[in-house]
């Protein structure tokens, strides 16, 4: 008998219009000392299964049949038993460390409260135990830090506190729901290492839920692949990743950007399992004929010279003037040449998005110059200059759910920039252009009459691309365009961007925290850390022989799907 045994679990969400099966015949088991990964795209039901184990499914969802046994005790749908087990025998780690701690209580109070709820310890012993726990999860100087509030900890440190909370009552099972998704690569590495180490030291069973195949490859022993509420494949991680059998699993593994080589296009599988080889875009469209193809002349397009940006908190009373200023960028310089894709990579707070905003003229730099085609974009004497380049620089945003106006039909979203920039254009021509644009991004013309909320994240990102292309830009800024998408959708969108670049000779400024994606997309790359440029080099050179120690560290720590041997 296994330690955790889940059999034929069915979970349903009953909504007004339909019943959604979030889990169907889910069965798997877990032994002590083993890490199992549940992987799947959004909506595959992986979090639902985890919540079902601790009976925390949100209404109107419910477990309709099946069994969940921990150490032989059945506690499916039995709140009385689960209540006793939850926290004591099962620890839970949530995705977002910013919200899973109560900001009004000191770390000490939260730990001691949890410990005393489940273990019979007096206050002093509980405090001593809390300090030991914090030391165990790698927090320095725990005697002092235990008296601090959550906001005094950084994101990674906070996740460590959450892990300490989860193991505080000596649980046998830990469920980690996307434990590192909100964290930077270097912190992710440390947290995963900590989890692995705890598994062995304490002989725990661990379930890690994630969408990141790299994390799966680096940490798990076995993996369960889910899709639309069903388990499509399960087995040893090494077997699943190197030799997937089901179509879903194959398509998932194929879409993961490889970290060790550059590929031309991602291979995609149709739902029937056939390879989609030809490019998704048909660019013999009218709009391209109208526009004509731009020549590539490898001219310098964008020149970013010694740009510094400080954010001032505008305090009226401030004791230390220099402390109230945050330097987001510190003398950053780089050039982008016409027709290339230029990558910006860095962890959170490195100033990537600030650069995007400066290039797109949303904010002005504190000092330094930005030249587009040898004309300064932020000349205080010449405010009209911005208008000259309106439409030549466009941007695709990170969050497909907030980058389209929810009250506009798709056709109006795409038509708006055309109408604005070509004042005396006829409505026939606008419609034609809009139709061409929606064809280019590979969506049906019926979608023009619908509203953004009717589309999935990947489709919205395509609409976003169509809007950005509508002004016939020369420079396209992509600010983390795929970080909110599933891997297979990411592969499609990245393929689309590459196709568009080839056909339209676009110049792309590609911003990402995801090194494998950068490797696939960019010709040259700049590594940023805390607003300072570490290194700029051709992407392949950067990955094969990094010079700067920070680049080396990043490359070393990124989870690699190939790491499994």
């Amino acid at each position: 008998m296994s330690f955790l045994d889940i059999k034929d679990l069915d979970i349903e969400y009953q909504t007004r219009k339909e019943t959604i099966e979030a889990g169907k015949n889910v069965s798997f088991s877990l032994e002590r000392g083993e890490i199992i990964g549940i992987v799947g795209e959004s909506g595959s039901g992986k979090s639902t299964v985890a919540n079902a184990i601790i009976n925390l499914i949100d209404k109107p969802g419910k477990i309709t049949s099946g069994s969940i046994k921990l150490d032989g005790i059945e506690f499916c749908n039995n709140e009385n038993i689960v209540q006793k087990v939850r926290g004591k025998k099962i620890g839970f780690i949530f995705q977002d460390p910013q919200t899973s701690l109560n900001p009004l209580f000191k770390i000490k109070d939260q730990l001691i409260e949890t410990i005393q709820t489940h273990l019979k310890l007096n206050h002093n012993d509980a405090e001593k135990k809390s300090i030991d726990l914090l030391r165990e999860v790698g927090i320095e100087n725990p005697e002092k830090r235990i008296n601090e509030y959550p906001h005094q900890f950084s994101g990674g440190m906070r996740q460590r506190v959450v892990i300490a909370l989860a193991i505080s009552c000596e649980p046998d099972l830990i469920i980690a729901d996307e434990p590192t998704t909100a964290l930077d690569v270097s912190i992710q590495f440390k947290i995963l290492k900590l989890l692995k180490q705890l598994t062995i030291e304490r002989n725990l069973g661990v379930i890690i839920i994630t969408h990141d195949m790299g994390v799966i490859a680096e940490t798990t022993d076995r993996v369960v692949v889910m899709r639309l509420g069903k388990i499509v494949e399960q087995g040893k991680t090494i077997e699943i990743l190197s030799n997937p059998k089901s179509i879903e699993c194959k398509s998932l593994v194929m879409s993961v950007p490889p970290t060790n080589k550059k590929i031309d296009r991602f291979k995609l599988l149709s739902p029937e399992g056939k390879k989609i080889t030809n490019s998704s875009v048909n660019l013999t469209n009218n709009i391209i004929k109208n526009w004509g193809v731009r020549d590539i002349n490898n001219k310098k397009l964008l020149d970013f010279i010694n740009v510094t940006k400080t954010f001032d908190d505008n305090a009226i009373i401030s004791i230390n003037k220099s402390e109230s200023k945050i330097k987001a960028l510190d003398r950053v310089s780089f050039q982008i040449f016409e027709g290339e894709s230029f990558g910006l990579v860095g962890e959170s707070g490195s100033g990537k998005s600030t650069i995007a905003k400066i290039v797109s003229s949303l904010i002005s730099p504190t000092s330094g110059e930005v030249y587009f085609e040898n004309v300064s974009l932020h000349d205080p004497k010449n405010k009209l200059i911005k208008n000259k380049f309106r439409g030549q620089i466009q941007m695709i945003f990170q969050d497909p759910y907030s980058s389209l106006n929810p009250r506009f039909k798709v056709k109006n979203i795409i038509a708006e920039p055309i109408k604005f920039l070509q004042k005396n254009i006829g409505s026939d021509l606008i419609n034609k252009n809009v139709n061409d644009l929606i064809d280019i991004v590979g969506m049906s013309r019926q979608s023009l009459e619908r509203y953004p909320h009717e589309f999935s994240g990947g489709q919205r990102q395509r609409i976003s691309i169509a809007r950005a292309l509508a002004t016939r830009p020369r420079l396209l800024i992509c600010d983390e365009p795929t970080s909110a998408l599933d891997v297979s959708i990411q592969a499609q969108v990245l393929n689309l961007l590459k196709d568009l670049q080839d056909q339209l000779n676009l110049t792309i400024l590609f911003i990402s925290h995801d090194l494998p994606v950068i490797r696939q997309m960019c010709d040259r790359t700049t590594v940023l850390k805390n607003g300072v440029v570490c290194e700029t080099a051709e992407t392949e050179k950067l990955f094969n022989s990094p010079k700067h120690p920070y680049t080396k560290e990043l490359l070393n720590l990124m989870p690699k799907i190939e790491s499994i041997e």
Binding site: R390, F397, D399, S403, F420, A468
Partner: protein
């Protein structure tokens, strides 16, 4: 057509929550009955209380029919001039509702435009507008309305005043209500203006005016709708209070507040119905709007949707 529209509405999430809420349905029914009765006052009301030919002083102080001395012709009795209470109330509610709707629309236009512009543009303009609302919120709205009314009286000659009363009241109440709208729209604008679709519009180069009123405004209308509903009952009550205090509608053109004021004089001489029925009518009207507003606040709040 209308049946189809209602069906489409009931099929949406909001319509569904409406179907499930007894309070929402009953308050809507009550509110619609009052609105239609007052719109069709000429047809629905048994008498025209403003037609001297139809009223007779002989009928004055007739009690409601279930009280001894009641008359089958006057269900709710008559007032001191012999006017039928029911008819007077229906005509009175027409005035109250008109003033309520008009003043809330006035407040909405003023408050929303100031709120959106100050939230979006920021800077000194925002500080000035928001301090204005802060100052005004320290003055009770009824005092504010009295102030505006008083100023208007100074400017308008006495003979014109009775005719101008409705406009003065609309402006007075509108001015006392706008800060609510300004505050809420400013807060919603601050959230909305940092969303990426607004950044995208900025990169395209759209003017501030287009971004504010074409892109932001339609996305922040939900909270505005909720305040407008609750503000409507507020405005009707304010109007009644002003009329009760004698600075609102003249006795020749009585609103619900004016009726209550007159009835008040007879309360201790036994003719309770003259003040009682208009007062109850006002309570029912305001309550139905408030309950509708409460339901709307919950139904339009995405955070409470799952309930």
């Amino acid at each position: 057509m209308i049946a189809k529209m209602i069906n489409n509405f009931l099929d949406t999430d909001i319509g569904y929550s409406f179907k499930k809420s007894k309070i929402a349905i009953s308050s809507t029914v009550v509110f619609l009955i009052i609105v239609f009765a007052s719109l069709l006052a000429g047809i629905v009301a048994p008498y025209n209380p403003f037609d001297p030919a139809s009223i007779s002083l002989m009928d004055a102080f007739t009690p409601p029919i279930w009280v001894e001395g009641g008359d089958i012709n006057f269900i709710l009795g008559t007032d001191q001039q012999g006017r039928d209470m029911l008819s007077t109330m229906i005509y009175g509610s027409r005035i109250s509702l008109t003033v309520g709707f008009a003043s809330i629309i006035f407040a909405m236009i003023l408050g929303v435009s100031l709120g959106v512009t100050s939230g979006y543009l920021g800077g000194r303009y925002e500080i000035v507008v928001m301090r204005f609302t802060d100052v005004q919120l320290t003055i009770p709205s009824i005092l504010m309305a009295l102030l505006v009314d008083g100023i208007a009286r100074g400017f308008i000659s006495k003979s014109l005043h009775n005719d101008m009363a409705i406009y003065v009241l609309i402006i007075a109440i509108g001015i006392s209500e706008w800060p609510q709208f300004a505050r809420v729209t400013r807060a919603a604008t601050l959230v909305e203006k940092n969303k990426e679709y607004i950044l995208a519009s900025k990169i395209i180069g759209l003017s501030n005016l287009v971004i504010m009123f074409k892109h932001i405004l339609p996305n922040i209308l939900r909270p505005v709708l909720v305040i407008a509903t609750i503000g409507l009952s507020q405005a009707i009550i304010t109007e009644s209070t002003l009329s009760f205090l004698g600075v609102g509608f003249p006795p020749t053109n009585p609103s619900l507040g004016t009726l209550i004021r007159f009835g008040n004089n007879f309360l201790f001489s036994g003719e309770w119905w003259i003040t009682f029925f208009p007062a109850i009518f006002l309570v029912v009207l305001a309550l139905s709007i408030n309950l509708l507003g409460d339901w709307m606040r919950d139904a339009l709040n995405p955070k409470l949707k799952s309930r």
